[in-house]
Amino acid sequence: MSFVKVRGLGKQYAPDGPKAVDDLSFDIREGEIFSLLGPNGAGKTTTISIISTLLPPTAGEAFVGGHSVQREPMAVRRLIGVVPQELALYNDLSARENLRFWGEMRGLGGEQLKREIEEKLALTDLTERAKDRVSTFSGGMKRRLNLAIGLLGNPALVILDEPTVAIDPQSRRYILDWVKGMNAKGTTVLYTTHYMEEAQELSHRIGIMDHGKLIALGTLAELTQLVGEHETLILRLQEEGGEALAAALGDARGVTQASSTDGEVVLNVASAEEVLPIALRRATDLGLTIRTVEIREPNLETVFLHLTGRALRD
């Protein structure tokens, strides 16, 4: 059963401006982790801003738990918890005071709120620092508290907007494990990210966005089938010249797509074994030295490259 329904959603910030979200339609099933994957500027944050009732759409509609985000915003807000990308915390309040305040804003109170606060402090390993001001916390601790606030009241749908940006690997691991644990208890999750690995690890289904549009939707297996048996061949160069090499290999036999980014040449190939010698020869012809070679099985990076002609990190 669909818990979230999005139909023809659109958002234009200025009447003659570009569409940040363009004719978006998808469902999120109850109890699943659904990821929106795409590069910066793809429209992921705008999409979840509309679903969380922060922004009104300029086209289409969205429903959460059967309630329209436009006509029944309060009903929608009671069902959702939002973990924003920015750290939305009061630095001069303690961790406990932050949780108490945001819990009150969710309508919690009394013993229920006290229990919630202690539970979330324990889950985030912040119990010992509960009385300390947030301004004294590390970045990872702030991220955990930011997450805990979004989970107050155990909402039916948790929306996380790129929660692992600019944090250390340990904190990232913590958040990913927590999302999986929360989902195991039945919480529906809408997760946005530009990290392919996170989407692959967490998601039951993934929607790939680019320039405001949903360009692919499905499970990981369904999405990788879009690119067939193609592999990704990644060449890392000793020096500048990646673009020239990518251009030289663009029409090589067995190469379906070639692009260059950050000193890497990324090739979508039918067989890495057949294309590699050709790539080495062309690099030598251009006076370039290949430092490392990596061969990847089809993944979301490949899918994105196949669909857009660009790497996910572009």
Binding site: L54, R77, E86
Partner: protein, 439 residues
């Protein structure tokens, strides 16, 4: 209501945890109050002195000159700072501009009305027709001067007073009245003495010149107290209204100034929360936007009330007087609501926290300068005082000036009503701006 309370208390907690804010809200205004009071003098009542007063003598007679001399005398030198003028229009303009406390206008018929026998001829007007007294009539008048006094209306001296110099003008009026009373008694005394001299045969009633010389001589001695060492006036000023005090004035004006800083800064925090992410998080919580906004401003107002209450208490400990406690509390609440309205208005129309901060600082400082935060408001030009009534500062300074002078709450209710109207106007404009921002 619960969420409103939670939002408001959050603001208060955040405000009082900020060390820099505490310095701005409390320590700095107290320090400035002490500095200003120390520089200009005075806790408690200051003596009334050097009251600027203009004197316009339209009369050519001796009695008016005597009145002028009395006002210019050494006995009144500490109390009055008189200036003799000739241009009536200019003098009245100076009073209206509150440059002087009052204008004393001695009318053209002052001497004639005060001393009907003035001039080279004894003349008394009765029923509009002049006649000369017969010897018998003079005899009768000498026995009882009041019978010969057929003047129907007294000498009228006009005191044209400035409303901003209420106490000083009252003192001038009292002084002039006292001098006139003395002069009237002297005139009666002279008349009686001269009459008795005539009756006793010591003076020739037909010798007008002699009569005048003797009369003047007696009068001068009586009026000026020459030869007997008596001072013309022993003036004891008793005022039921508290005199101006720099400590009182600066305690209130500094509190108002720094309240404005706090209120405009508090409004700015709404924009900071918008950029920082806490406002969007609030807006996606099951809390109506109007509750969020009202709760935020209620918190700013509550912080302002606490701030001014603390300043009231602290300055009172060092001798500052703010007025009747109930009236002070009501005034503080009204003033804080108005200041918060200014903060909300700026936040509603500014594009960023930085812009709101710059505008808030500019508005606060300009309002303070126009309203008389740093020097007595009464010294400012009239047009400046009128323009400044667009700001809470001016209303607050006026209100506290009245309360400190001794007015009760009921006396300042009209002014509180005016402040309330201004507050409503602030919030209406702010609401229009917020709707633009958040819709």
């Amino acid at each position: 209501m619960r969420k409103l309370r939670v939002l408001a208390l959050k603001e208060v907690r955040l405000a009082f945890r900020d060390v820099g804010a505490i310095l701005t809200m409390l320590a700095t205004p107290l320090a400035l109050t002490l500095a200003i009071a120390a520089a200009f003098g005075g806790g408690g009542s200051a003596p009334i002195a050097d009251i600027p007063v203009l004197v316009l003598n339209q009369d050519a007679g001796e009695m008016s000159s005597t009145l002028v001399e009395a006002l210019l005398s050494d006995q009144l030198a500490d109390l009055l700072e008189p200036e003799v003028v000739t241009d009536e229009a200019a003098a009245r303009a100076r009073v209206e501009a509150d440059q002087v406390a009052a204008l004393v206008v001695i009318p053209p018929d002052f001497s004639a009305r005060l001393l009907p026998m003035g001039g080279t001829e004894l003349r008394v007007e009765s029923e509009g027709a002049p006649f000369q007294l017969t010897a018998a009539q003079m005899q009768a008048w000498a026995s009882n001067p009041q019978d010969g006094d057929t003047e129907e209306s007294p000498a009228v001296v006009e005191i044209y007073a400035s409303p901003q110099w209420r106490i000083s003008a009252a003192v001038v009026k009292a002084v002039v009245a006292e001098v006139l009373e003395r002069m009237h008694l002297v005139v009666r005394g002279v008349g009686s003495t001269v009459g008795r001299l005539i009756l006793a045969g010591g003076m020739d009633i037909t010798n007008q010149e002699q009569l005048l010389q003797v009369g003047q001589s007696i009068g001068e001695q009586l009026v000026l107290g020459a030869g007997n060492g008596e001072a013309l006036l022993r003036l004891e000023v008793v005022s039921t209204r508290r005199a101006f005090s720099w400590l009182d004035y600066s305690a209130a004006s500094m509190a108002i100034l720094f309240l404005m800083f706090s209120a405009t800064s508090g409004g700015r925090t709404l924009l900071i929360e918008r950029e920082g992410g806490t406002l969007p998080r609030l807006l996606v919580s099951p809390t109506p936007a109007v509750t969020i906004l009202v709760g935020k401003m209620a918190g700013v107002a509550l912080t302002g009330i606490l701030q001014v209450m603390i300043l009231w208490g602290a300055s009172s400990l060092i001798g500052a007087y703010w007025g009747e406690p109930l009236a002070v509390v009501v005034t503080i609440v009204a003033l804080v609501l108005a200041a918060t309205g200014v903060g909300a208005l700026i936040a509603a129309w500014a594009k960023s926290p930085q812009q709101a901060g710059a505008i808030g600082t500019a508005v606060t400082l300009v309002a303070a300068a126009l309203s008389g935060s740093f020097f007595p408001r009464m010294n400012l030009p009239v047009w400046v005082r009128q323009v400044s009534l667009l700001t809470p500062n001016a209303w607050g300074i006026e209100l506290f000036a009245d309360l400190q002078a001794g007015d009760a709450l009921v006396n300042v209710l009209p002014m509180l009503g005016g402040l309330l109207l201004l507050t409503v106007a602030y919030y209406v404009v702010a609401l229009i701006g917020f709707r633009r921002q958040f819709e």
